[in-house]
């Protein structure tokens, strides 16, 4: 119980940092509206967020100028608010992807090589 609880908290923290990255990445190709974006993220267990997390986050990204939004009506359907990356969002995404990949590479290296196996940099 405690172990599961701790693991869940750790996953929540991990996801919190990665969420902005995966949302920016999801919007990089073409405009996407909220419900479609939510379903896209819910395809993966670690990014399966709720509506109550997604919409305020999109609002923040919009206020920060990382995404832009416009209302689009297709045929008889209800108008939907589509989000897409701005130039500023593209730059942010590039930076976040680099940081993420560096972190993953570093952590993988640390997982593969315990501290005792690392070469010493200090004189004895």
């Amino acid at each position: 119980m405690d172990s599961n609880d701790t693991q869940e908290k750790w996953q929540v923290q991990l996801r919190k940092g990665a969420l902005e990255l995966v949302i920016l990445a999801a919007l990089r190709e073409q405009p996407v509206y909220g419900l479609a974006l939510l379903r896209h993220l819910q395809r993966f267990p670690t990014t399966a967020i709720t509506e109550g997390t997604l919409y305020p986050l999109l609002d923040r990204l919009k206020r920060e100028g990382l995404v832009d939004a416009r209302w689009v009506q297709e045929g008889d359907s209800r108008p939907r608010k589509y989000y897409q990356l701005t130039d500023q969002g593209e730059h942010k995404l590039t930076a976040l992807v680099q940081a993420w990949q560096q972190s993953v590479a570093d952590i993988n290296a640390l997982l593969a090589a315990p501290a005792s196996a690392a070469p010493s940099t200090q004189g004895s």
């Binding site: 109550g52 919409y55 305020p56 923040r60 206020r63």
Partner: protein, 185 residues
Amino acid sequence: MTSRDPIGTYMRTLASRLGQLDKADAEEVMREIEGHIRDVVEQAQARGKTTDIHALLQGFGPPEALAAPYVAHIRTGAPPPAGFGVIQRVRQTVTRGLYYSGGASGFGVALGLLLLALAKLVQPSQVGVWSTAGGNSIAIAWSGSPYLQAEELLGYWLVPVALLASAWCAELTRRVLRALRRGLS
């Protein structure tokens, strides 16, 4: 207690919690959230299924919690309109006295400038901006030149200049009051 119209109840509560936003911003949030809910319900109906409305609304969380991040940036200081950086420093500790005295002063100056422009049209020789002592002293007067051998500076240009200054002053006051109003609510 369960509502017969849970979506309507949810949206009404959300609307009241978004009251601090501009009306247009609040309506846009409402439109997006309600559109999402209606889309889910209609797409389920098209597949011959029913939607668990309560579970769906649970995904959005309580309306108070959903509204909180939308209005949080206002409470911590909304980005000011371009060119009015001073507004960013306005915080919630605003008194009603400051609100009303600021409004009276700002709109009072705007009204004065407007009257000045109109007066220049009615009595052009009596109203103007005069300079004397080699530009060391400048006076705006409604009683003819206040100095001997003074030079009137703007002539009829005083009319558009005063009108523009009046409009700018009124707009600045309106924006400052809007920011102060958020602090009062």
